[in-house]
């Protein structure tokens, strides 16, 4: 299909504007984090590193940051283990119809609005005295992260040649060896991207976290949420910039490691 130069240029400009709206607005937090005034005015009049200093010297920000990283690492490990096992189990299940509905159940946390799950989890944790506990955060975030692991591992398994596993078994490998030495290397890109998604899901989670936090234990997004709604403190811009940097590095490392594996 040929398009006139005019149509093409118009589309180019339009798509450029849409791309700008998608990407650019978020970038304002980066220059703002270097402002020298205690205001969220943009563009900043002068520059300083005082908000980074503030972030690293304020125990509240630091402990929120530490909690977030710790929770996200544990969630990534747990969700990846649980989700990968479940995906393999679903694939091996011979009753396809039952497997399909079980998969739908495992993916359900993605589609149910977070606020509804949040009030339910809040009610349960309140009774079980799990509000503001590390285990509570890990469990709540893992439920939200497992679907992403299941999606990406299931996709990887679909592209994996099962005959390799059969061959390994026929050559004398037991199930565990077959999985570890044959299946897992084959589906590793899916497992890695599932783990990354799980990490980022937990690291960014706000809605459930607002409900299950306590004054003694909160995560970085919760602290940011409170900061946005309460005060005009640019420390949050410094925090946001570092979070963006961290997630970008994690995603980039993940993508690069996957590419390298492919080349090997």
């Amino acid at each position: 299909m040929k398009h006139s130069v005019l149509t093409r240029s118009l589309l180019w400009v339009y798509a450029g504007l849409v791309a700008f709206v998608l990407i650019a607005p978020t970038a304002v937090v980066i220059p703002l984090s270097f402002t020298d005034k205690a205001s969220l005015n943009f563009p900043p009049a002068g520059w300083s590193l005082r908000w980074y200093e503030n972030f690293f010297q304020d125990p509240a920000w630091m402990s929120a940051f530490g909690n977030s990283v710790l929770v996200a690492v544990v969630v990534a490990a747990l969700a990846t283990a649980v989700g990968t096992a479940a995906s393999v189990g679903l694939q091996k299940w011979t009753r396809r119809r039952a497997a399909k509905s079980l998969q739908a159940l495992l993916l359900a946390p993605i589609v149910v609005p977070a606020i509804i799950l949040a009030i339910g989890v809040y009610a349960i944790f309140l009774q079980a005295q799990m509000l503001g506990t590390f285990a509570g955060f890990v469990l709540a975030h893992t439920v939200l992260a497992v679907p992403f692991v299941v999606v990406s591992v299931t996709a990887a398994l679909a592209g994996f040649d099962q005959r390799l596993a059969t061959a390994a078994a026929s050559l004398g490998a037991n199930r565990w060896t077959t999985f570890l030495k044959v299946t897992l290397p084959g589906i590793l890109p899916g497992v890695v991207s599932g783990a990354l998604f799980a990490f980022v899901t937990s690291f960014d989670e706000v809605v459930l976290s607002i409900f299950i936090k306590s004054p003694y234990l909160e995560t970085l997004p919760v602290k940011m949420y409170a900061s946005v709604t309460r005060d005009t403190d640019p420390t949050i811009a410094a925090a946001a910039t570092m979070i963006m940097l961290l997630t970008t590095v994690i995603i980039a490392v993940g993508l690069l490691s996957m590419r390298r594996r492919k080349n090997v």
Binding site: Y14, V29, P113, V143, A173, N174, K181
Partner: protein, 306 residues
């Protein structure tokens, strides 16, 4: 890919046994191992997903006392209907604006060369790994009364406008977050359209505009429908963006739920609102699944949208 078995000799005897057992159990309808593999995930879903949801639903008829009073409260109060109506309206507007922005974008992706197309795809995917919190915060900076947007408008002699703490702010924030969910199904659907059909129609004398509206648009319709539904469904349950960019005076249902449960400890009322939101979400998802099944069947094989 390498099939490496470091110590085949040691494992051979044991594995022959396992292999035999597997062959023998192959006929059985259900093997134990898939169940065991699924068990941790199912336990987690039961304990931290199904049980809390059930508890939240249950509270709508059980708190503060058993009975339908919470539903009666919802039906009787005009303010509740206003929140519900506003939520539906904002979700509808979000879907419409996303469609207007995404349609030309997705079309441009389809007609672009592979490199530009990949770049456009990456731009759509980047927001997925940027935190929702940060993006809403960025909009607060840009849209505040003395923010960059109002500054630019002032240069043009316009404004200042109130761009946050109202529905405008909520819409801006939600559209930006939800746009990828419109672009992706649209692109998938448009990419399936055979562009030679448009060539054929123009060789038969149709003007480009006519072959676009009469041939391309109807064929890309499944993407429009599923993208719009997807955006609409997600917009219904949004919490963070309305809470940060909207105002308590123009609440959406999620904010209302938060207020009832966390602010006023009205578990029953909050749960009723939750039930309504959940039912609406599931009904629309059911509709989406149905439409996708239909379009898949109509398209033969790869017509699936997501």
């Amino acid at each position: 890919m390498s099939v490496s078995l470091k110590d085949p000799v040691r494992q051979a005897g044991q594995a022959r046994r396992t292999g035999g057992a597997a062959a023998a159990s192959g006929r059985r309808p259900l093997r134990l191992s898939p169940v065991l593999l699924l068990l941790p995930a199912l336990a987690l879903m039961a304990g931290v997903f199904a049980y809390p949801l059930a508890e939240a639903m249950w509270r709508s008829v059980a708190y503060p006392a058993p009975g339908p009073q919470n539903y009666q409260w919802f039906a009787a109060d005009a303010g509740n209907w206003a929140v519900l109506g506003r939520t539906l309206w904002v979700a509808l507007l979000s879907a419409a604006i996303c469609l207007v922005l995404a349609y030309p974008y997705a079309y441009f992706m389809v007609i672009s060369g592979p490199k530009l197309r990949a770049a456009l795809m990456v731009i759509v995917l980047i927001p997925f790994w940027t935190s929702l919190m940060i993006r809403s915060f960025a909009w607060i900076i840009l849209l505040q009364d003395n923010g960059l947007v109002n500054g630019l408008l002032a240069v043009l002699g316009l404004g200042p406008f109130e761009l946050i703490r109202n529905t405008t702010g909520v819409l801006v924030g939600m559209v930006q977050v939800l746009l990828p969910f419109m672009v992706l199904p649209l692109y998938a659907s448009m990419n399936n359209v055979d562009l030679r059909l448009m060539q054929a129609s123009s060789s038969l004398g149709a003007r480009p505009f006519v072959s676009f509206t009469r041939i391309f648009m109807p064929l890309a319709m499944p993407g429009v429908v599923s993208g719009s539904l997807l955006v609409f469904i997600q917009a219904l349950g949004f919490y963070i963006t309305p809470a940060l960019l909207g105002s308590p005076a123009e609440m959406m249902i999620s904010q209302y739920i938060y207020m009832q449960v966390n602010g006023q400890l009205q578990w029953g009322r909050g749960s009723v609102l939750g039930v309504i939101l959940l039912v609406a979400t599931l009904a629309l998802l059911g509709l989406l699944a149905l439409l996708m099944k239909k379009s898949k069947r109509a398209a033969g094989d790869e017509g699936g949208l997501l």
